[in-house]
């Protein structure tokens, strides 16, 4: 210690050092780095978890929406021919030779179906052309043009060659085009999809509309309940809170199927109305398997997501504020509007954002109770994931949905401010 003091006395005042002679600045930095490392190690499991289960899958999804090498990977020679020859080149003998060789090897490797499926996405009815010609390909002899055309004269179709050229590029925007009801014609120009197949834009609109409506309904129903919960004495409010939480803890499927039991044509609600003479047997109300079913069931299921943030914001608001406003002459409406409501805004914002974003992505409930008119865009994503197995299109629609939600989130941040959000 004596040495250090001596050193300090001798050194210029700008250069502070620690007891062991190291500059204070670097020693401090090192100590802080150590603490930071330790803190980082603490959050590392969470970070890894989020990267593995959230960021990577989303990246993968985005990649899949623009990447599909079903054709390029399995038809290498023909893909090369497309690279070597510019758009508009008539397929010649060398093209057919490449086609024949690729068909043969793809048929042997059992990947011909993948190729056919990829082309079939863009041009319907071509899948079996690939599989059937693939079966004959092992017997092809030169000249290949003649051999392939003899196997099936559909191979001469210029539209087919145009489509094959398009899909020979593994990276494509076609799935995104399809996700917003656009398509490419044979020359590669972007055009509207045929009218009888336009569905996605309409479903996006419907999804946002219904999610907005559900958010509004949740707010309308949830606000008074949250207020009641926040102002009642604790022993009553706890009991009420359980009534809110109980359905929240119940399985989603159970709640949805309960709504089926209640709302269906021969269900509890209709039967009661008929029994009390309000309705007759012929005028039973169709409350399920349509949009109404989706709205009722989803409002109920999402209601706790509105009540809980509202409650957590309302609870600490001192009742004396409103009383003070009233004593200063404000009407009850003015006191509510000017004093109480502004203080609950962070809760309204949080609840509305939660309900809306959850609502936009809901699919089990609309699938079960939505019938035809209550289907949302997520049902089509599920359809392409599970039925048509066109995962690239599913990824593209999901990416559009994600982008739309991010835009709304950004708007929300600009208009209301994300700092102004209180979840609890």
């Amino acid at each position: 210690m004596a040495d250090a003091t001596a050193d300090l006395a001798g050194a210029s005042p700008a250069k502070l050092t620690t007891a062991d002679g190291r500059p204070l600045k670097s020693a401090l930095a090192r100590a802080q780095a150590k603490a930071r490392r330790r803190a980082f190690l603490l959050v590392l499991p969470l970070l890894l978890f989020i990267v593995l289960t959230f960021i990577l899958p989303i990246g993968q999804m985005l990649h899949r929406s623009i990447f599909n090498d079903g054709f390029a990977a399995n038809m290498p020679q023909l893909t090369q021919w497309f690279v070597d020859n510019p758009v508009g080149t008539e397929p010649d003998e060398s093209a057919y030779a490449a086609l024949a060789a690729d068909l043969k090897s793809a048929a042997e490797a059992k990947t011909i179906g993948v190729v056919g499926t990829r082309v079939n996405y863009e041009m319907s009815g071509t899948r079996s052309l690939f599989t059937s010609t693939g079966r004959k390909a092992k017997n092809f002899e030169p000249p290949y043009m003649q051999a392939v055309l003899e196997a099936d004269d559909k191979w001469a179709d210029p539209q087919l060659w145009g489509t094959m050229r398009q899909v020979s590029d593994a990276y494509t925007a076609n799935f995104f085009l399809a996700a917003v009801d656009l398509a490419r014609d044979t020359e590669g120009k972007i055009v509207q999809a045929p009218e009888d197949r336009r569905v996605y834009v309409m479903l996006f609109e419907r999804t946002f509309l219904i999610a907005g409506l559900i958010t509004f309904l949740c707010l309308l129903l949830g606000f008074p309940i949250a207020h009641l919960l926040a102002t009642l004495p604790l022993r009553y409010s706890n009991l009420l809170m359980i009534l809110v939480l109980l359905p929240f803890w119940t399985s989603l499927l159970v709640r949805t199927t309960s709504w089926i039991v209640l709302l269906q044509g021969q269900g509890v609600v209709n039967n009661t109305l008929v029994a009390t003479g309000i309705l007759t047997d012929d005028t039973r109300i169709q409350m399920i398997y349509n949009q109404m079913g989706t709205i009722i069931a989803m409002t109920h299921i999402l209601l706790p997501f509105m009540i809980l943030p509202l409650y957590s914001v309302m609870r600490p608001i001192p009742p004396s504020y409103v009383r003070a406003a009233r004593s200063l002459g404000a009407s009850s409406w003015t006191a509510f509007r000017r004093i109480y409501l502004p203080q609950t805004l962070p809760g309204i914002g949080a609840g509305a954002l939660l309900v809306f974003i959850l609502g936009v992505g809901y699919y089990i409930t609309p699938a079960l109770v939505g019938g035809a008119s209550g289907q949302l865009i997520s049902n089509l994503i599920a359809f392409h994931m599970q039925d048509s197995l066109n995962w690239s299109l599913a990824a593209a629609i999901a990416a559009v949905l994600l982008a739309a939600v991010l835009v709304l989130y950004w708007l929300y941040d600009r208009l209301i401010g994300i700092d102004n959000l209180k979840l609890g």
Binding site: K110, T117, S128, R198, Q266, S388
Partner: protein, 358 residues
């Protein structure tokens, strides 16, 4: 990367396979799965000691594709429709099945001659012939009963809601037959745009009155709840509800669309040897005949036909309830897998668009 895919595509809905060498069989659930458990799984376990786990899916072809592509196969044997079997096989997602492992008929007829035509393909072995039919609740119609496919679309004469499978397959065929197209011309007509338009125009007539089902167990439920008065359904499901539960449901065979259901082995099945053993066992003459004791689907082997007798209640003759019985085939259509492997995505896309627009 593969592992990530497994995590991210959590859509298989299947419990992880168990550690021991159990055979996991994925099927369609409901009374159909029960018939398989009784006719195949239990006797197989009794004979070999290999446990069979039965899991359900709305359409097993979907999880199979997802599992093989994600390289996380938990299913050893799956029960799929014909078009899906062909499609998955062409995409290299299924193990090829050597017909030599199939057992011969009791009289020595080789398996390949004993199975019905087309019932054994490169990757799949048919077990049953099932049919999409329409059925009605007879208590809802006191006077005239529906007896033709056209009646299904006639809500003026036969009021009440309808239910149909949510998808293009079988619905388009039935719509055309109801519109007066002979069964033999249906697929030729559906190849044309006019034909498809005509089918959708026919569906338009009942669109507002129709509820769309997805799982095979739903239609009997919708009928039982009184939610609909008529529904299309897999014939075995209606039979099960009518005979075992005594529901007043009647099947109308006019305009039925029948096809095979097949067993496949997904590529990379964890217990391949056991799966093959199971396949050999389950598709022998006796097993296929036994299944008809539990559900009214026709066996895919000629030699099984003669062994089909009574339903398990011991008093219901199965013959008249089979899709393949002579009387039920007067106006019937064999589903065309060639048509559906090609047109499935296009027509379903159009179907979805049609459905979503009010």
């Amino acid at each position: 990367m593969k592992k990530l895919l497994i995590l991210s595509t959590a859509l298989t809905g299947v419990a992880a396979s168990t550690a021991s060498a159990d055979v996991t069989v994925m099927s369609w659930g409901g009374s159909y799965a029960v018939s398989q458990v009784e006719a195949y799984h239990k006797p197989f376990t009794a004979e070999t000691g290999i446990n069979v786990v039965s899991v359900d899916a709305d359409n097993p072809a979907t999880p199979i594709k997802a599992q093989v592509e994600a390289n996380n196969v938990t299913v050893d044997v799956a029960d799929v429709e014909y078009a899906d079997a062909i499609r998955l096989c062409d995409e290299g997602l299924l193990e090829e099945i050597d017909p030599a492992i199939l057992s011969a008929a009791p009289d020595g007829t080789p398996a390949m001659d004993d199975f019905l035509p087309g019932a054994v393909t490169d990757c799949a072995v048919a077990t049953i012939v099932f049919s999409t039919v329409f059925a009605y609740d007879s208590s809802k119609f006191s006077g005239e009963k529906p007896d033709s496919i056209a009646d299904f679309f006639d809500t003026a004469t036969f009021p009440g809601k309808r239910a149909m499978r949510k998808g293009a397959k079988a619905n388009l065929e039935m719509a055309l037959m109801a519109d007066g197209v002979p069964a033999a011309d249906v697929y030729a007509l559906l190849e044309t745009d006019e034909g498809v338009d005509r089918a959708f125009a026919k569906l338009d007539e009942i669109k507002a009155d129709t509820i769309w089902w997805e799982a095979g167990a739903q239609p009997p439920q919708l009928l039982a709840d009184g939610e609909v008065s008529m529904t299309t359904a897999y014939n075995g499901r209606i039979f099960a509800a009518a005979v075992t539960e005594g529901k007043p449901f009647e099947v109308v065979w006019d305009g039925q669309v029948y096809e095979y259901d097949l067993f496949v082995i997904p590529k990379g099945a964890p217990n391949l040897e056991e799966a093959k053993k199971f396949l050999t066992f389950a598709t022998d003459t006796q097993r296929l005949a036994d299944q008809a004791k539990w559900i009214s689907y026709g066996p895919a082997r000629k030699s099984s036909g003669a062994l089909v007798g009574m339903f398990m209640d011991g008093k219901t003759e199965m013959g008249p309830h089979m899709p393949t019985s002579e009387a039920n085939l007067t106006n019937a259509l064999a589903s065309s897998y060639e048509f559906w492997v090609d047109r499935d995505s296009e027509l379903n896309e159009r179907f979805n668009a049609w459905l979503a627009v009010n």
